[in-house]
């Protein structure tokens, strides 16, 4: 029985977290300002009042401390969900994430699990100051032992956060912060799907566009414009950054023969680079053109007044589509 409700992604995440807290007494939320304030993006609004200070913890202002104590809590049988306030503030916790959280199951020869979720609001489009608009997902995708996902819609956010919490492996949960506010239909009866599955969101025949998070709205906009110009574009939402669900991607490339990848993160040594290499290896004879990447420039994220130039938009995506079609 579907229970469709229209809500923004921040509310959908809130609903998913509430359900996880209600369903499993071992689930805990921890982070900076997530209590009475409800987090700087209000994702945890009302949850401390509902579940108490012991289960929704305002922590000291220390990211390594948040992740490191979450590891200890996981060893003690809990399932912590950590909020990192902004993408650019994750690096003080990077050592605990990559040297400890990611490796502890392996270090224990598989005798323990590490069910920890790290929620990271990420990406640009919000006109914020430095360290508040970055896309650091490639660092974590590069680290064995971590899983990384990013929803693009309120509905996906609702079920994916619950699946991430249910995972016995650590999950980096990247929330496209510019998508926190636009509303979408959420089916609150959704009981969950495989966490690491990409999805064809628009069918087409001539070019495949692939991206994750906030990039999806740009890709869909580009596909609309292209359709008006007579070009049929297929759009795939990656959803899982690590591992990558290649089957729908390869099936689409074998149909269209052309793949354009788009991401906010810098292109050098990125998720898009990895997918381009793999698609070239696995679908070489189906490709009519090289795989083309559209990415943030390989510069620091610029001051906010320049971000619209830095971030890939529909025009830059369509420029890449034109180049792919020109082969």
């Amino acid at each position: 029985m579907s229970e469709l409700q229209s809500m923004p992604m921040a509310k959908a995440l809130n609903a998913g977290l509430r359900k996880a807290l209600a369903d499993d007494p071992k689930v805990l939320l921890m982070g900076e300002d997530i209590g009475p304030l409800g987090g700087v993006f209000r994702v945890t609004e009302g949850l401390q009042a509902e579940f108490g200070k012991q289960r929704v913890m305002d922590t000291p202002l220390a990211e390594s401390g948040i992740v490191g104590t979450a590891i200890g809590l996981a060893l003690a049988g809990y399932r912590p969900v950590c909020e990192i306030q902004f993408d650019g503030f994750i690096y003080p916790g990077f050592d605990q994430i990559t040297s400890q959280l990611a490796k502890l199951t392996n270090r224990h020869d598989g005798t323990i699990t590490m069910p920890v979720v790290i929620r990271v609001p990420y990406g640009g489009h919000i006109g914020a100051v430095e360290h508040h608009q970055e896309s650091p997902e490639a660092y974590f995708a590069h680290t064995a032992g971590l899983r990384s996902v990013s929803p693009s819609t309120p509905h996906d956010a609702y079920w994916m956060i619950q699946e991430a919490i249910a995972s016995n492996d650590p999950v980096m949960f990247f929330e496209p912060k510019s998508r926190y506010w636009p509303k979408g239909d959420v089916d609150l009866s959704e009981s969950g799907r495989p966490l690491h599955s990409s999805r064809v969101v628009r069918e087409g025949t001539e070019v495949t566009l692939l991206g994750h998070g906030a990039m999806l709205s740009v890709l869909l906009q580009a596909a609309e414009i292209a359709a008006a110009e007579g070009t049929s574009i297929e759009v795939i939402d990656l959803r899982s950054i690590s591992p990558i669900d290649y089957d729908p991607i390869l099936a689409s490339v074998r149909k269209t023969g052309r793949l354009v990848l788009a991401q906010e993160a810098p292109g050098f040594v990125s998720v898009g680079s990895e997918i381009a290499a793999t698609v070239t290896e696995k679908a070489f004879y189906s490709l009519e053109a090289p795989v083309i990447r559209v990415a943030g420039f390989d510069t620091p994220f610029p001051p906010a007044k320049l971000e619209t130039v830095y971030l890939p938009d529909a025009d830059r995506v369509l420029d890449a589509v034109d180049r792919a079609l020109a082969y």
């Binding site: 390594s64 590891i71 200890g72 060893l75 003690a76 699990t113």
Partner: protein, 374 residues
Amino acid sequence: MSYTEATLQLLSPEGRLVESDASAEYLPLIQQLTDQQLREFHRVMVVTRAFDVEATNLQRQGQMGLWVPSMGQEAAQVGSGFAARPQDHVFPAYREHAIAHIRGVDYVDIVRMLRGLTHGGWDPREKNNFHIYTLVIGSQSLHATGYAMGIQLDGDTNTGDPERDRAVIVYFGDGATSQGDVSEALVFAASYQTPEVFFLQNNQWAISVPVSTQSRTPLYLRPSGFGIPGIQIDGNDVLISYAATRKAMDEARSGQGPRFIEALTYRIGAHTSSDDPTKYRTQEELEHWMALDPITRFASYLRGRGEGEEFFRDVDAEAADTASDVRRRTLELGIPPVENMFDNVYSEPHPLMQQQKQWLADYEASFDAEGAAE
């Protein structure tokens, strides 16, 4: 840093009980110990030292990539190790061989890690909650604090049932006190008033850097700035190590919050088998601390209480047997199957692990096929 007026001590370097106003609250805890428990202190110190010497030899003979000697720190470890209760959780750094033994870890399991057969070596739940070694300096302090937060959430402090109340003890060294993670652990421990004892073995050197580079104030004073009581003990005195830890753990288990103990001791050997202490410290300093040896001191105390020579001979014989047993079993250790590389990276199925494990199996099998065809 040498002993100061603040340094708590129950045994003088000559092995005589020290009675002072400061030690008065700790002496009763020692008087509760049975003769058998006191003998066990000596036994574990001596056997672990023999293991440590044998492991050093094995490394020198190419049987281990690295060894981390514990020589000189036996009293700090054995006293505090026996002060924890079975239900408590112990988070070591990587030099706590005596405590590992007390909690039931086979010495050879420590060897397995340093011989390159595993990154861990044991399941903490099967070893009386003795967690695996952590090689990144200070990282374990946060894991211990998180675990202690979990004990609190479980409601297992100050229950009135001594079998249910639990606490955590975490070990780290003087170098680790400079790491941000240790400071963050102290912040979290103080904020949440965790049932936890921070046990600092100040062995004076972080590889080649003296403790004076880590701190210009005695390290036992540092926790007071975080709101955590700290004391300094003579880490080469097994009795004060036991009594101070026992008291701190009892306080932690009964919900009084975290405690901090600085045990002044000395690393007689190298940091690891990879460094040469003669390059950075003096012979005079080494001799000063060797004269304060924890095993000699405690043996003098036991003899003063009337312990017979037969006991000491038996312990020495057991130590020699343990060392040769460790050597024999070390040389018998096999190489783990290559599948281990892929099998435990994730708890749940992962396509890259499945694909790469299969690829490697096919690749290796291809050589067999070529060999068979020739």
